[in-house]
Symmetry: C2
Subunit: 168 residues, 2 copies
């Protein structure tokens, strides 16, 4: 027995994004307790030329959504990037998780061999499904979720690895 | 056809750790060009109560090594945590990748159903192999690699997502 690509993508993304949503909730609670405007966290960055928290969350959602759709061989819906608050970012995550759960496991059958193209600026990256999962989808989704976590942690929000890992 | 746990762990870990090694090399080049002591980067943190770069790299290596060994059903070697320089951290990564590559793919057969126990402070976490991979091994390894990246990025090292993703 081996594992399905569905188990190695959808199950992982939905769990990790749920944890991210709980982490954003802790960010909101922290701002409320310290009586500062939570939008400070929404626009916080780790470096001047890195994306702020809002964009990290949007990209994490889009990478999960678009990667899952490509693996399932369907066209992903487009979500507007118009979130301005932590609550709106949590709603974006919830919408993304709903979409991920809507993809039938059967659509992922054989996708490890599927040709997948990803537009990346002037280049078009080409993968087989398996290497797309290994080299693009998983590393990218975890990158942006971890960076969102690190932005909040750097700004004093009381979160730990347990929040990132979620229920085990 | 489905994918093997070997493909969903060893292949991913070795690639991600190789990229981390190249990122550390850029950190060293940056410190050299700016004429500051590279050990400043080794002990840099994103928050006072977060681990510094050195520990992030050591933990990333150990999580990859120990997770792979648990999935393969063997006892992992113990590596001392005595690295003090970026070069030594890169050697730790190289040693870890050598170990990961030494595990025969056949040892991972059927491991998705294997019972895996992880000591975590006073608790012992219990997983089946598949959920261990989904909820522990992959999120944890990517967390520490991304955090190492973020520490360097936060400190002005000129790295980008391309360095993190490596060759595609």
């Amino acid at each position: 027995m081996k594992i399905s690509v569905h188990a190695a993508s959808i199950d992982i993304f939905t769990h990790a994004l749920s944890n991210l949503s709980a982490i954003l909730e802790k960010g909101l609670a922290h701002a409320t307790a310290r009586k500062f405007d939570p939008s400070v966290l929404v626009s916080a960055r780790l470096a001047p030329d890195m994306f702020p928290l809002s964009r990290q969350v949007q990209i994490a959602c889009d990478l999960a959504k678009n990667s899952a759709a490509r693996l399932a061989g369907v066209e992903p819906p487009r979500f507007e990037d118009n979130e301005k608050t932590l609550e709106e970012l949590r709603a974006r995550i919830a919408k993304t998780i709903d979409y991920l759960r809507s993809l039938p496991a059967a659509a992922f059958e054989g996708c490890e061999e599927r040709d997948i193209k990803v537009p990346a600026g002037e280049r078009t990256l080409e993968f087989k499904g398996l290497s797309f999962l290994q080299r693009w989808a998983l590393p990218n989704v975890f990158f942006h979720i971890t960076t969102a976590y690190n932005i909040l942690r750097h700004n004093g929000v009381e979160i730990g690895k347990r929040d990132y890992l979620g229920s085990l």
